[in-house]
């Protein structure tokens, strides 16, 4: 049998989760990610796991909270409007320091928006998944292989750092099929879950999973401790790809599906003699600030490309300390730019350098 399998991105996430030891999936149908639920519904009973369709996104994320508290590796998935509903639960899960994996296969917004691919939840994912000083790990795959790979890494990261990890994908990645190799899943050492609420058996003190700290001193200390952990993550866990950046005058910064469109445009631009490269953040939180910043001394211009109105621009400006101009090109509402549109933007910029 061939080593690789042809799969939809959504299915690859589900299968990678199962291969990573995920035994509990709680979800609610929403386009364009429903294949994850459907795949789980088929597969989970065969591997001794559970796929439960909740009555709402709110319930699904709270079932995740319970399963995570009980020590399970668990997954929930949704698309943009559903993620907004989950935001309360995400904040509680962060406040309780529980590990879980959350998938957002983004669609166009705001509101009910549309069902075509978007990256309009960048701010929400990287800055404010819920209320309070909080972050979740955010991984942005750009291929079906990475949908699988990063899902397995997300489970390990979540367990190591006791926090949620989010796969921030989009409708195109969810719906497209590419070959996947499941032999390269993450296999990091993860700590034992001695904190889990699964009964004391009279052998230990009770475990309490709680985000309520009524004393502000205590709450401040807990937030500060969590932010120290965030610093450690930023130091150790950033992931990114540099593509033809060595001699690049123009560096495009793009993630997910958009980065691939940019790669096609870059090939065309290079054929025309324009020195352009791509910096692709794979972790959107923590953001590869240092690594992108290092390019600011060499490149002349940064061009941010996204399927939104420019939500990542601020992060690029901060990372490059505004040493070089940062401009933006994107489409939104479910529209995907063609490589030619990106190329035109590159050529326009190149003419000004």
């Amino acid at each position: 049998m061939a080593k690789k399998v042809l799969m939809k991105g959504n299915e690859a996430i589900a299968e990678a989760a199962i291969k990573s030891g995920c035994l509990h999936f709680f979800g609610y149908p929403i386009t364009p990610q429903t294949e994850i639920s459907e795949y789980m519904a088929k597969r989970m009973p065969k591997v001794g796991g559970l796929c439960l369709q909740a009555e709402s996104e709110i319930s699904a994320i709270n079932m995740i909270m319970g399963a995570a508290a009980a020590g399970s590796r668990c997954l929930t998935s949704s698309s943009s409007p559903g993620i907004s509903l989950k935001s309360e639960g995400i904040s509680y899960i962060v406040g309780c320091d529980l590990p879980c994996v959350i998938v957002n296969v983004q669609r166009g917004g705001p509101g009910l928006g549309g069902i075509q691919p978007s990256q309009q939840d960048y701010y929400q994912a990287t800055k404010a998944n819920g209320h309070g000083d909080e972050h979740v790990l955010v991984l942005a795959p750009s291929s079906v292989q990475e949908m699988a790979q990063l899902t397995s890494e997300a489970f390990d990261l979540a367990d190591i750092y006791r926090m949620p990890a989010m796969i921030l994908a989009d409708g195109a990645l969810g719906q497209m099929m590419e070959p996947v190799d499941f032999d390269v899943m993450s296999k990091r050492d993860v700590p034992e879950k001695t904190w889990a609420t699964n009964g004391t058996e009279g052998k230990r003190k009770k475990n309490i999973i709680n985000s309520l700290l009524i004393d502000p001193v205590e709450l401040e200390n807990s937030v500060i401790a969590r932010f120290k952990k965030y610093d450690e993550i930023a130091e150790k866990e950033v992931k990114y790809e540099e593509y033809k950046c060595d001699d690049a005058d123009i560096v495009i910064v793009a993630y997910g599906i958009t980065s691939r469109i940019c790669k096609t445009a870059i090939a065309a631009a290079r054929a025309k003699g324009i020195k352009v490269g791509l910096f692709r953040p794979i972790t959107l939180w923590p953001y590869p600030k240092k690594q992108l910043g290092a390019l600011a001394d060499k490149a002349k211009h940064f061009l941010v490309c996204e399927l939104n109105m420019g939500q990542m621009v601020d992060d690029v400006k901060v990372a490059t300390e505004c040493k070089k101009p940062v401009s933006f090109f994107g489409r939104t509402g479910g529209m995907i730019p063609s490589p030619d549109e990106v190329l035109a933007e590159i050529e326009k910029l190149a003419a000004t350098l």
């Binding site: 061939a2 690789k4 042809l6 386009t31 364009p32 069902i115 409708g171 195109a172 719906q175 497209m176 099929m177 590419e178 070959p179 599906i257 691939r260 469109i261 940019c262 790669k263 096609t264 445009a265 090939a267 995907i336 063609s338 490589p339 030619d340």
Partner: protein
């Protein structure tokens, strides 16, 4: 070498299946491949198309805008995508459903009455496979025998009755002479 293929028609014509057959074959030939469907709120009917890119290098954008090969199975798809075919590209269309042809001189145009052929041969619903056979003949994209084997291997045991039909349809398309 990269081949950008766009398959387009109505939902229910087997557009996505045909694209998958190509993608699976490409994967098993150790090529890079991507398959991207259009998707909408409706389950049946409406426009359906899918982008398939086959390459020996990393695939960038999975969206085929200017196809090297266009397979058009209905008139709206023909009208929409015929002008987009890249110069030197190939257009394959179902001339039993599309009553016009292309007057572009810079592309190769191949009409095949696939839906009528399918219906005449008692293979209703298999025009897509007939077109795949024709595609193999015209483009030489994959070896016929290898493609047949792969396509049949993808048919689940519960639908074993379809094996002979698929075989026949692919053969009819491959042997079709203009």
């Amino acid at each position: 070498m990269t081949t950008n293929i766009l398959l387009a028609g109505f939902g229910g014509q087997g557009i996505l299946f045909a694209g998958k057959a190509i993608a699976k074959m490409a994967m098993d030939s150790d090529l890079q491949v991507s398959w991207l469907p259009s998707y909408g709120p409706e389950m049946r009917g409406g426009a359906a198309n899918c982008s398939v890119i086959v390459s020996d290098e990393e695939i960038g954008s999975p969206v085929v805008v200017t196809p090297d090969i266009l397979i058009a199975l209905n008139l709206p798809s023909f009208d929409k995508f015929e002008p987009k075919v890249i110069a030197g590209g190939k257009l394959i269309y179902d001339c039993s459903l599309i009553d016009r042809t292309s007057d572009r001189a810079d592309i190769e145009v191949y009409g095949i009455p696939a839906t009528a052929m399918a219906s005449d041969a008692g293979l209703t619903g298999m025009a897509n496979v007939i077109v795949l056979g024709y595609l193999l003949k015209i483009t030489g994209l994959f070896e016929y025998d290898a493609f047949l084997e792969h396509m049949l291997a993808g048919i689940p045991p519960t639908k074993a009755a379809l094996i002979e039909k698929n075989k026949k349809a692919l053969e009819m398309g491959y042997n079709y002479a203009k």
